[in-house]
Symmetry: C2
Subunit: 333 residues, 2 copies
């Protein structure tokens, strides 16, 4: 942590500061993803866990707990819990989306089969549940149970909202909470609770995680139209092909001419997509400033995340979380 700290990515700053804790989390994850009888379980899990995901969610839990002065053992359990929930949802998402790539590698459903992805996801979800019960903290259990329900509900909502141009920004926001923000906010909130932080700080941690998660997901949805395959570790244009109604689409549809509206009805609602349609979608979005206004929305959520940090203890980790909120949206600006 020398003078060049400013040059480091905030994610790497966090990883360096939390190195010992993260080593404990990784050990616990490796221990709990084992299965005495079913070797398929660690095979599938290792494929995903060791693909070098950024481990952002467990770091949020560790950072929240440490920032609030925690020195017990259970932030490690909670960080592993959060990563297991995340991994379980990725396995199920890839089945639902019929994805072929994740984190730059072939998906588990492609390498093994959908059955393994469904069942190993269930196993990891159960394991996450065992881990959180070990903390013996009922409030933490309540928060994580609620987050799980929000995640699952958001996924179903996304399924039914896809292909429907009538999807509102309110519904989009619920989908985004389910996909990303609910687990981010639970991750930071339980870190504060296990540390016994005052209620106002717990609330601030929730708000930070929620706003960071929303910003993160809007950026992700933008990069699906605007980024490169390398940027996002999967194929760009996937959302378009899956006919998902994300923020840039909603904003472009809101301002569409009759011809443009016919285009959106054809490609999103009817699913009749021709070569060149993705480029056409990008062009329409650019004309109406849809990308730009969605970008501004992401920036506003990042600002909200930073503002929430003000109520938290003055700590090097707080500065890193502040930088993280800026960095998350810097990918698109």
């Amino acid at each position: 942590m020398g003078l060049d700290e400013g040059a480091q990515k905030p994610h790497d700053q966090l990883a360096a500061w939390l190195a010992d804790d993260m080593a404990a989390v990784n050990l616990l994850i490796r221990d709990r993803m084992a299965s005495k009888h079913a070797p398929r379980i660690p095979e599938v899990t290792a494929h995903l866990v060791e693909a070098g995901g950024k481990r952002l969610r467990p770091m949020l839990t560790l950072a929240a707990a440490r920032m609030c002065g925690y020195d017990g053992p259970f932030h490690v359990h909670l960080a592993a819990t959060v990563e297991f929930i995340h991994t379980a949802t990725l396995l199920h998402d890839d089945v639902v989306d019929e994805s072929a790539r994740r984190r730059g590698r072939p998906t588990a459903n492609l390498l093994w089969d959908n059955k393994s992805s469904v069942l190993v996801g269930d196993y990891l979800f159960s394991r996450s549940f065992q881990l959180m019960v070990e903390t013996g903290n009922l409030r933490v259990l309540d928060i994580l149970a609620n987050a799980s329900a929000t995640i699952a509900e958001g996924e179903v909502l996304q399924l039914t909202a896809a292909q429907d141009l009538a999807t509102t920004e309110e519904i989009y926001l619920q989908v985004v909470r389910g996909k990303t923000a609910a687990l981010f906010s639970a991750a930071t909130e339980v870190g504060g609770i296990i540390a016994g932080a005052p209620e106002a700080q717990v609330e601030a941690l929730f708000t930070y995680g929620d706003a960071l998660g929303v910003a993160f997901q809007i950026v992700d949805d933008l990069l699906d139209y605007d980024g490169t395959d390398k940027d996002i570790g999967k194929n760009t244009g996937d959302d378009f092909r899956e006919r998902k109604v994300t923020l840039p689409v909603i904003r472009a549809v809101a301002n569409a001419s009759p011809e443009e509206r016919a285009f959106w009805v054809r490609v999103i609602e009817k699913g009749d997509q021709q070569p060149g349609d993705l480029d056409q979608a990008r062009t329409i979005m650019a004309c109406h400033g849809a990308m730009q206004s969605a970008r501004a929305e992401a920036m506003a959520w990042a600002a909200k995340a930073r503002a929430a940090l003000v109520g938290l203890p003055d700590h090097p980790l707080r500065a890193m979380l502040n930088n993280l909120a800026t960095y998350v949206v810097a990918r698109i600006s």
Copy 2:
């Protein structure tokens, strides 16, 4: 509960005795399967929940709690929890097995799609988790978390054990615990715990549920070869077509002549199945007494279940649970 009690099926005896409690459970289930934003969730759930499953698992929880003198509200939460876990696993099972019928009706994956079944299953699993957290009883949470892990592990094990004639009876038993017995034993055990029953009674309840579940699943596996479609509410021969190595197969393979072994290798390991093969399998099983010895095994587990009841309070519900253990295996004798 008149003089003709002996003529009633044990399941109907339980349903009559527990009618008020079950009404409360059904109300809670209906309330919690709702989703404010995603109507697909109650649609899919209602299809399965209202198909007239026997609600055996929640009744086990209610019976255990009442028999041990419980008069609080939380046995209802736990019964609903157990039914939600069961429903979630059915939804995922049907995706994994590519089943077309369940409880005599088309499966959800057929009526909607695999995506809905996966995600609605996840939602119900989360909801079950919320329900159990509401009891505020950490020991109950621990038991249900462990049962969930055993269920998921058993499902993966079944996936890898299928098509493998080297599957031992030990592995088969682990699969059976995952498919059925782990949730039966958790259902009875948590009923005793929420009632504050003495440790010896809690253990007896666990043993009863476990043995009942094993007997139940062996019978189910036998009926797949021996029953009618109407008996089991799905298609007979499904296990054979899915190349599952169940107890009658294991016992027939153990005594196979070289020609018979070649048959099993072809139909189970290679999956090369011709018309008439299912009948051929039945004939081989009959010759070697494989069906009969598997039947005897189921009877022994039922006897173990009845024996465990001796340590429990003398109560009309105890007599019904005793009858239930007898009835479960009577389907095959």
